[in-house]
């Protein structure tokens, strides 16, 4: 998909596929086009070019929205409604029956910890409470696909934990979760896979919870490393750094680690320690997106 607002390019060329049941993290610096992309997938913004499908139908199609949930970045609604009234109103917009709502609303209020505040007006809610009720309305219809735009924004640590638990629960239920977040620590814990986006293009997608595969760094402690043996490592590594007996290698995949060990042993090098090091998501983010954050 592509989106321009007049002369301004918001999303250059977004190509993405998210399989059902996956918790997918959508990462990128400010202004990378994340929100616009999510809005296009929800039908709030129409793409200038390209197309998308969600749950087997064109993205934004009215009937498919019955099976989707959405938590906007800053959830706001008419502040004279009480928490319970808000959920009932949104439930009716989903086309849910009164009996179904009488069943679902207490469950959701309980889930987001707002049962004691069910009759309180939204105007008396804190930012965190608004975010919680927004999360509840996004889950009302037992969605098959849920978009969460910065769900932990405004939440305290207890609230963030709640969001993590809800996402885990949604994963168990087989719901596809599309998570837009700046908090990389949260994403690292909750997501199966992430995409890094910059200037409206996906730079890279990465599995997070599989085996230690993909590009990583391997740290070795070796004895008597000759210059000749060190230069031989270049066939597996994209970068290497030697400091005393400590060698740090950048490798394309941890699959090459046994080959490196075999090579070193074959070269009669003493190997004391081999530690593949996974980059934190934050390091990975900076590596892929760049320190300038795309500015």
């Amino acid at each position: 998909m592509r989106k321009t607002f007049g002369q301004k390019l918001a999303v250059r060329s977004l190509t993405l596929e998210v399989p059902r049941g996956e918790v997918f993290g959508f990462l990128g610096p400010n202004g990378a086009g994340k929100s616009t992309s999510v809005k296009m997938l929800l039908g709030l913004v129409s793409p200038t070019g390209g197309e998308a499908t969600a749950l087997g139908a064109p993205a934004g199609e009215v009937n498919v929205r019955r099976r989707m949930g959405f938590l906007p970045e800053h959830f706001r609604f008419y502040d004279w409604l009480s928490a319970e009234e808000l959920l009932r109103l949104h439930g009716r917009l989903y086309g849910m029956s009164r009996s179904r709502l009488s069943e679902r609303v207490p469950i959701l209020l309980d889930l987001v910890g707002l049962t004691p505040h069910r009759d309180k007006r939204l105007r008396d809610f804190s930012k965190g409470m608004l975010q919680r009720i927004g999360l509840a309305q996004a889950l009302l219809n037992d969605p098959e696909l849920i978009f969460l735009d910065e769900p932990t924004s405004g939440l305290d640590p207890v609230g963030r934990r709640l969001v993590r638990d809800i996402i885990k629960d949604q994963r168990r239920r087989g719901t596809t979760v599309f998570l837009n977040s700046h908090l990389l620590g949260e994403v690292e814990i909750t997501c199966d896979r992430v995409a890094f986006i910059k200037h409206g293009e996906v730079l890279e997608t990465r599995e997070l919870h599989g085996a230690l595969d993909g590009a990583t760094t391997v740290s070795l402690r070796v004895g008597n490393l000759s210059t000749q043996a060190a230069s031989g490592l270049a066939q597996w590594t994209s970068s290497s750094h030697v400091e005393g007996d400590r060698v740090t290698l950048g490798v394309a995949s941890t699959a090459v680690v046994p080959e490196i060990v075999r090579y070193l042993v074959g070269q009669r090098i003493d190997v004391y320690e081999v530690t593949p090091q996974r980059l934190s998501l934050e390091e990975l983010f900076l590596q892929i997106v760049g320190e300038d954050g795309g500015l």
């Binding site: 709030l44 913004v45 906007p72 706001r76 008419y78």
Partner: protein, 276 residues
């Protein structure tokens, strides 16, 4: 179904706006002032030897002036209560939670329109009915076709509402308010030029007025309403500034209805296509 849910929530939202309660308070203050003024005028007439024709003419003039004030309040309230319903909710993000539900955008807009129109109907019944009642009980002045008059003022209000929603699909709140009230002002001036033109038999002035009414037919509905609410005799003897020397034709009312529906339809179409 989505239309009625939106209509209900919009009605409740509009009914909670401070501007509505201020307009109601202003309306009630006006009714009290109107009733007091009328009362003393009638008392004064009774103590002096004033001819019946002048008495009837004067109380009719008072009644029409009262209805005119109510119409003005209705116009201002229509625009002010609805002017930020689209632009404001788009800016605050409130609209995102609704527009991602299984409801068409046109249903969302139509629901809002219905919610406002219901609130305005209640306001008009209360205020026009209140003015008519005060005038009747204090001075005995009767509104000729009360329901027709109310319906025409309601239609004027619906027309302004439709134009406000149409402009709200692309303009910011403030610009929208300025544009719609500006157009109504144009129609207002046009109406007076047409009246003056008719009284002085100046066909070109009448044409200017008609053109203004074609551009924005809101004021023309008020002029039709006032002619319906006055007795034909009083209207004809030109005892008030609203004595309709040139009464808008039925064709003009039909034109206004088509204009209203076109504005509403276009608002639904444009809202359906715009990015939120």
């Amino acid at each position: 179904m989505g239309v009625w849910i939106m209509a209900g929530v919009t009605f409740r939202e509009a009914a909670r706006k401070r501007v509505l309660w201020m307009a109601l308070a202003a309306g009630l203050a006006f009714l009290a002032l109107f009733g007091t003024g009328l009362h003393f005028q009638m008392k004064d007439f009774a103590s002096r030897d004033i001819s019946l024709a002048i008495r009837v003419g004067a109380r009719n003039a008072m009644l029409v002036a009262g209805l005119y004030a109510v119409d003005l309040l209705t116009v201002v309230m229509t625009v002010l209560t609805s002017v930020d319903t689209l632009s404001g909710e788009i800016a605050s993000g409130t609209i995102h939670a609704v527009a991602t539900k299984p409801i068409h955008r046109w249903q969302l807009l139509l629901g809002k329109w219905l919610g406002f129109i219901a609130m305005l109907a209640a306001y008009i019944v209360l205020m026009v009915g209140g003015t008519a009642a005060v005038a009747y009980f204090i001075s005995g002045a009767e509104v000729h076709h009360l329901v027709r008059g109310m319906l025409l003022i309601w239609m004027e209000s619906a027309l302004l509402l439709s134009v406000t929603l149409l402009c709200g699909t692309s303009l910011s709140t403030l610009t929208n308010g300025v544009v719609v009230l500006g157009f109504h002002g144009l129609a207002f001036i046009g109406g007076w030029i047409e009246q003056a033109g008719a009284l002085t038999h100046t066909p070109r002035a009448v044409t200017v007025g008609i053109v203004a009414s074609l551009i924005m037919p809101s004021e023309t509905l008020w002029r039709r309403a006032v002619s319906e609410m006055q007795s034909p005799l009083l209207s004809a003897i030109a005892m008030s500034p609203f004595s309709n020397a040139s009464v808008p034709s039925l064709a003009m009312v039909v034109y206004a209805a088509v204009y209203l529906l076109a504005a509403l339809g276009l608002a639904m179409y444009r809202f359906g296509r715009r990015d939120l």
